[in-house]
């Protein structure tokens, strides 16, 4: 199978991934630094009988994506912090109605208008807990252009498989940098579609609670005339105030993600095979600098490794604990005031592992040299040398 080798920008790779994964609807609104995704989709979608629409705002963008998904078409939108904030209420609607869609958030500095053209990872918590109520998010965090392509495909697949909105969390630098990408042939890719009902309409339950994951999903117009509502609902989709139906619905939203955390969640590691006592944790562009720093440290015979969450939510906790088994000091490097640290802290044994922050939130990157000097500082002054 012929692979196309191309020099692509991160946002362009996102477009390629979406088209390969079968996204045929994009509703968006221009916002820096995500605009190239919308521009690419506007160009590509009409060529594959898909539909691009520029909505009047981000609230409308995500609403149109959910509507398109209800009509049976895979949908996606792309935005940045301010737009992501506007989308949150309707992202909650996608959670409670179990409607697949993909939201690409290219992070810039915040809060508010913040730093439109500079890098940040300050939407980390928003990606997982942005909308009100109880739910579990799926958030993918690639750290290079080729990974953006594959994680966009994975985001579409996961959203279809688990009937849930999925966030692809990028940052301004990986979205705008260019790298060589081997674009896979469509036949090489596993594309997942939501399960279609096999029962006749009278037997169909749009919100059937299943033991393992999401139930089948009929599109509008196929003879299954069901109700979809943002109210708490029973399995048929009718509003309910019955306490056992409400808790069953909310537990289903939680369990379909939590019980599959080891399948959905993904951790990547570098130089963790010889059980280093010092490790770095970071994602996105910071993980690129951290990997470089680990290589430089290893050249200087400093034993250090990198743990990189490729999904921020759900965190594959068994895998994470296994990787952290011998780690005594964990440097968490990130472009915000400690959002990833706060997530990690909840999951590690604080008596045995010291979390060492390395943070920057001025719109500039953390360099490999800065991470290396932190590694040395920890190695020389820490409890374990």
């Amino acid at each position: 199978m012929q692979r196309q080798v191309r020099l692509l920008q991160g946002n362009e790779a996102c477009v390629e991934g979406a088209i390969l994964a079968g996204v045929r609807f994009f509703g968006g609104y221009p916002i820096t630094p995500s605009t190239e995704v919308a521009e690419g989709m506007a160009r590509r979608l009409p060529l594959v009988n898909g539909r691009f629409i520029q909505m009047e705002d981000e609230i409308g963008s995500i609403a149109s994506c959910i509507g398109a998904s209800c009509a049976g078409v895979k949908s996606m939108t792309a935005t940045s912090g301010p737009g992501f904030s506007l989308m949150q209420e309707n992202i909650g609607y996608a959670y409670i109605t179990e409607t697949p869609t993909v939201i690409v958030d290219v992070q810039r500095g915040g809060p508010s208008t913040g730093l439109p053209t500079k890098v940040s990872q300050a939407d980390t918590m928003q990606a997982g807990y942005g909308t009100h109520g109880d739910y579990r998010a799926v958030v993918l965090a690639p750290s290079g252009v080729e990974e953006i392509l594959f994680d966009t495909i994975r985001a579409v697949n996961l959203s279809e498989q688990y009937r849930t909105p999925v966030v692809v969390l990028l940052d301004e630098v990986i979205a705008h940098m260019r790298e060589k990408v081997e674009v896979p042939h469509p036949d090489e890719i596993e594309v997942m579609d939501r399960r279609k009902p096999t029962v006749p309409p009278d037997w169909y339950k749009h919100f059937q609670i299943t033991a393992t994951g999401a139930s089948a999903m009929a599109p509008f117009g196929d003879g299954y005339r069901f109700n979809v509502t943002g109210l708490t609902h029973d399995e048929l989709g009718f509003p309910t105030a019955n306490s056992s139906e409400i808790s069953a619905m909310l537990e289903h939203l939680r369990d379909k993600i939590v019980k599959n955390a080891e399948i959905i969640g993904k951790l990547e590691t570098t130089c963790m095979e010889d059980d280093p006592k010092v490790a770095i944790m970071s994602y996105g562009i910071v993980a690129r600098a951290a990997r470089q720093a680990v290589m430089m440290a290893r050249d200087q015979r400093l034993k250090v490794g990198l743990i990189r969450p490729r999904t921020i939510w759900p965190m594959p906790l068994d895998t994470l604990r296994k990787q952290l088994k011998n780690v005594k000091q964990l440097i968490v490097a990130e472009l915000n005031q400690g959002q990833l640290s706060s997530i990690v802290k909840r999951h590690v044994d604080k008596k045995n592992i010291e979390i060492i922050p390395l943070r920057r939130y001025d719109g500039e990157l953390i360099t490999p040299a800065r991470i290396l000097s932190k590694i040395k500082e920890v190695k020389h002054h820490g409890t374990e040398v």
């Binding site: 045929r24 609807f25 509703g27 009409p46 060529l47 009988n49 539909r51 629409i53 909505m55 009047e56 705002d57 609230i59 409308g60 609403a63 149109s64 994506c65 959910i66 509507g67 398109a68 998904s69 209800c70 009509a71 049976g72 078409v73 949908s75 209420e89 309707n90 609607y93 599109p219 509008f220 117009g221 196929d222 003879g223 299954y224 005339r225 069901f226 109700n227 979809v228 509502t229 943002g230 109210l231 048929l236 009718f238 509003p239």
Partner: protein, 279 residues
């Protein structure tokens, strides 16, 4: 017009338990009846119909009707409906909304859907009040009328939704009331039959809140008010402005043939495919 039992049994959901959530005497029941009669008259297959709504009393309508129904977030029904229609233009997409939902929080989606001339039918139940939250004034509450948040009378100007839709580019705009049911059926049928963005503004009654706060607490009083103040457009055209004082115009206010959004997009797709073939 009478609601025949075969229409009721064909279009209402057997699995959804009644009674509905509305107050007795509410105009929304009349709108529901008119909507399903119009659909029956046009013989649109139930599977092809999507009814979309936002939040508020009117937005609880879809759950009772046996179509594909999408009860969404406050103000956003038109944006959701746009996604449904663009993704599958074969579907007949109807939005049921209220004055607060459509014109305050959803005002931006409303005018832009008009501008795109996308083939949606919006049935706007205009009762001049936020009913579900307890009678706060809305963008259509007449200046001077009272609401729960306008205890001394509304000091704001009110919107004319029909004029707004015409100015924003809608293809079909009509107005009727829950008293003038034959006319309402005709207007909704016309809207469903129209290719392009259509709006039917229905003057409805919220005697529970608007009425009680404005000396019309009996639903009959509110219907009598509608009867007295509605002026069919044919008659209104012949009247001097001073005779129209305090009245509102009903009937088909605007009907224009122009290119519809989904058709235009399909044309783009076809043009690009033809161009690619030539190469």
């Amino acid at each position: 017009m009478e609601l025949k039992s075969d229409v009721i049994h064909h279009y209402l959901r057997p699995k959804k338990k009644f009674p509905h959530v509305w107050c007795s005497g509410c105009g929304l029941g009349v709108i529901l009846g008119s909507m399903i009669r119009s659909i029956a008259a046009l013989q649109i297959p139930k599977d092809d119909i999507v009814v979309c709504s936002g939040i508020g009393c009117s937005s609880r309508l879809p759950v009772y009707v046996d179509f594909n129904t999408l009860h969404t977030t406050h103000g956003r029904a038109i944006a959701f409906a746009t996604g449904v229609k663009v993704a599958n233009s074969r579907l007949k997409v109807i939005v049921v909304t209220g004055d607060g939902d459509c014109l305050a929080i959803g005002g931006n989606h409303f005018i832009h859907a008009c501008r795109r001339n996308i083939d949606l039918t919006v049935i706007l139940a205009n009762n001049w009040i936020y009913g579900m939250t307890g009678g706060q004034f809305s963008p259509t509450t007449p200046t001077g009328s009272r609401g729960a948040t306008a205890p001394y009378g509304n000091i704001e100007q009110n919107f004319d939704p029909a004029k707004l839709a015409i100015a924003a580019g809608a293809a079909y705009v009509a107005r009727s009331t829950v008293y003038h049911v034959d006319q309402l059926d005709k207007m909704i049928k016309g809207a469903l039959d129209k290719k392009g963005f259509s709006l039917v503004e229905v003057i409805s009654n919220c005697h529970t809140y608007f009425g009680r706060l404005n000396k019309m607490s009996d639903p009959i009083d509110m219907l009598k008010w509608q009867k007295k103040h509605a002026m069919p457009i044919q008659a209104a055209r012949k009247l001097p402005p001073e005779k129209m004082e305090g009245k509102f115009v009903t009937g088909l206010l605007h009907d224009e043939d122009k290119q519809e959004y989904c058709d235009r997009y399909q044309q783009l797709v076809d043009d690009l495919a033809a161009r690619a073939e030539k190469r």
